[in-house]
């Protein structure tokens, strides 16, 4: 057998936590494009 048994409740909890973290990573990825661009450019303009 490939992996030792894990009970269903833990398996579900693992899947939920992983999906949450994965969704967070995707949000960070997409936020990097418009959000950081605007934020940093605003800061740069203010600094000038």
């Amino acid at each position: 057998m490939a992996t030792p048994p894990v009970d269903d409740a833990t398996r579900r909890r693992n899947r939920r936590t992983a999906l949450l973290l994965g969704a967070f990573a995707i949000v960070v990825f997409f936020s990097s494009v418009p959000f950081w661009k605007n934020l940093i450019q605003t800061a740069l303009n203010a600094a000038r």
């Binding site: 057998m1 490939a2 894990v6 833990t10 909890r13 973290l21 990573a25 960070v28 600094a47």
Partner: protein, 530 residues
């Protein structure tokens, strides 16, 4: 930590044999081994490129490389070492050790674990292709940007840059998936009684590192995606002529790039927190403050990125903020180093190879940190910027700070992984040759930088000849010394004195309650931690 662990394991060692065992593997130990083998291969590839750089710089004038090829090799050296060697090596050790240390039967998401690893060879292939493609007809120009990939140069480079961008995407996906797995494992799979604050510091270090990875890797992925769009789809994110800003890429890059340093170093610090108490035969001094300091390092490390960009013309207020923030990081780093030294204080210390590497890391990483404080100071940095001083600084940070920590971890756990003790005499020879040649290679580069030798240049003025000669000869010895490491590891895998369950007298933790090597499936019955 005392346990009432039920160390009984079912006798079955059912696992696939041959290539299926590795390709389809969902076992954390096998995947850990795959990561480590991959990292070792890339380490030698990255080392080979370093040898080429130092051989070229042996004498003034052009030796055997042309400037474009030199820049290409330089870029690949950094990318291979960071993404191909150090990060996967840390992930390999994490895969092997975290489930054993927290009493989990495996990683939380074993199939995701398989995917995280097997993305890596594809990414490595893309990375290597980015180096090779320019040699073919129509392959375009070579990558001459360095690992920072700053536009506009990176927009103008030929198609090899596209391979590199996709390699970074794949490496990023692999890192994020592995990080998710590590966080979920630590949160959900700990044995009963193993509270977060009973967890070994190594696991804490990886917990913090995994969060850092999820927070910053998508940012560089976003950055290189925008670069790809600028190159092929007519956008102007980084093109001033189209209303964009090339400096924006620098911000995005260093928002990832600076925490990346801590991503490389924190797992090594975590390993030291296991090694130093074991060979000092004392518990770690300041467990909570060490964990707290790692959290502070991660937090501060994310908000000081622009100290890499003092010369771009930021406002005085902005550079001051980045300077003060950067210098503040030396406090939690100093606290961790203090805790390590306090652990050694009046301990019954012995200096087996893991402890030698750990001690060297404490000393030499402090030195790298010291030059880091010098570089954080704005007026000084404007002088040192883009000089060999910076090269000396970050090699003093990353070789002792990350690679020596990994060597300490590998020698510490090698008996657990293989079931054999390694050849201690050879390992000590390896340590001393490696440590002395490392210092000879990089210490003189401080003087080269202070005297004005720029970095990333194939040729140099004859006034820099002597120190470059010393650096290159020592660098060659340093590089070759790793062949001895390879021999020691192969020898240890093939045989040697049988390792006990607890290979080191002073070692503590759940992993040492398992046989050496541990059974294919470990902790099927969770231990109960008191």
């Amino acid at each position: 930590m005392s346990t009432t662990a039920d160390t009984l394991h079912s006798e079955h060692e059912h696992h696939p044999y041959g290539w299926r065992r590795w390709l389809y593997s969902t076992n954390h130990k096998d995947i850990g081994t795959l990561y480590l083998l991959f990292a070792l291969t890339m380490f030698f590839l990255g080392g080979l490129s370093a040898m080429a750089i130092r051989a070229e710089l042996l004498f003034p004038g052009l030796q055997f490389l042309d400037p474009d090829l030199y820049n290409n090799i330089l870029t690949n050296h950094a990318l291979i070492m960071i993404f191909g060697a150090v990060m996967p090596a840390g992930a390999g050790i994490a895969n092997w050790m975290i489930p054993l240390m927290i009493g989990a039967p495996d990683m939380a998401l074993p199939r995701l674990n398989n995917l995280s690893f097997w993305i890596l060879p594809a990414a490595a292939m893309m990375l290597i292709l980015s180096f090779i493609v320019p040699f073919f007809p129509g392959g375009g120009t070579q990558i001459n940007t360095g690992w920072t990939l700053y536009p506009p140069l990176s927009v103008q480079v030929g198609m090899s840059m596209d391979f590199l961008i996709f390699a970074i995407h794949l490496l990023g996906i692999s890192s994020v998936l592995a990080s998710i797995n590590i966080i979920v494992t630590i949160l959900n799979m700990r044995a009963p009684g193993m509270t977060l604050f009973k967890m070994p510091v190594f696991c804490w270090a990886w917990f913090v590192t995994a969060f850092l990875l999820i927070l910053v890797v998508p940012i560089i992925a976003g950055g290189v995606t925008m670069l790809l769009f600028d190159r092929h789809f007519g956008t102007s994110f980084f093109n001033a002529a189209g209303g964009g800003d090339p400096v924006l890429f620098q911000h995005l890059f260093w928002f990832f790039g600076h925490p990346e340093v801590y991503i490389l170093i924190l797992p090594a610090i975590g390993a030291l927190a296991q090694v130093i108490p074991a060979f000092s035969r004392k518990p770690l001094f300041g467990y909570h403050s060490t964990v707290g300091a790692m959290l502070v390092i991660a937090t501060l490390g994310m908000v000081v990125w622009a100290h890499h960009q003092y010369t771009i013309g930021m406002s005085f207020a902005a550079v001051n903020y980045f300077m003060i923030g950067t210098i503040l990081i030396s406090i939690p780093v100093g606290l961790i180093l203090f805790n390590f030294i306090a652990t050694m204080w009046r301990g019954a210390m012995t200096f087996e190879t893991p402890m030698l590497f750990a001690t060297a890391m404490v000393l030499l990483f402090s030195f790298g940190g010291l030059t880091g404080v010098m570089l954080a100071v704005i007026p000084a940095d404007i002088q040192y910027h883009d000089s060999m001083f910076v090269v000396a600084h970050f090699h003093y940070v990353l070789i002792p700070g990350a690679i020596y920590g990994l060597f300490a971890a590998v020698f510490y756990w090698l008996p657990k992984w293989t079931g054999h003790m390694y050849d201690e005499r050879l390992a000590k020879i390896f340590f001393w040759v490696n440590m002395i040649s490392f210092n000879l290679t990089f210490f003189v580069q401080h003087f080269l930088g202070l005297a004005g030798m720029p970095r990333r240049i194939i040729d140099y003025n004859v006034i820099f000849a002597e120190f470059n000669f010393i650096s290159s000869v020592a660098g060659l010895i340093y590089g070759l010394s790793h062949l001895l490491f390879l021999y020691i590891v192969i020898k240890c895998i093939r045989g040697g004195k049988k390792a006990d369950n607890k290979a080191w007298e002073g070692a503590t933790g759940l992993e040492w309650e398992l046989p050496s090597p541990p059974p294919f499936h470990s902790w099927e019955t969770a231990p109960r931690v008191k």
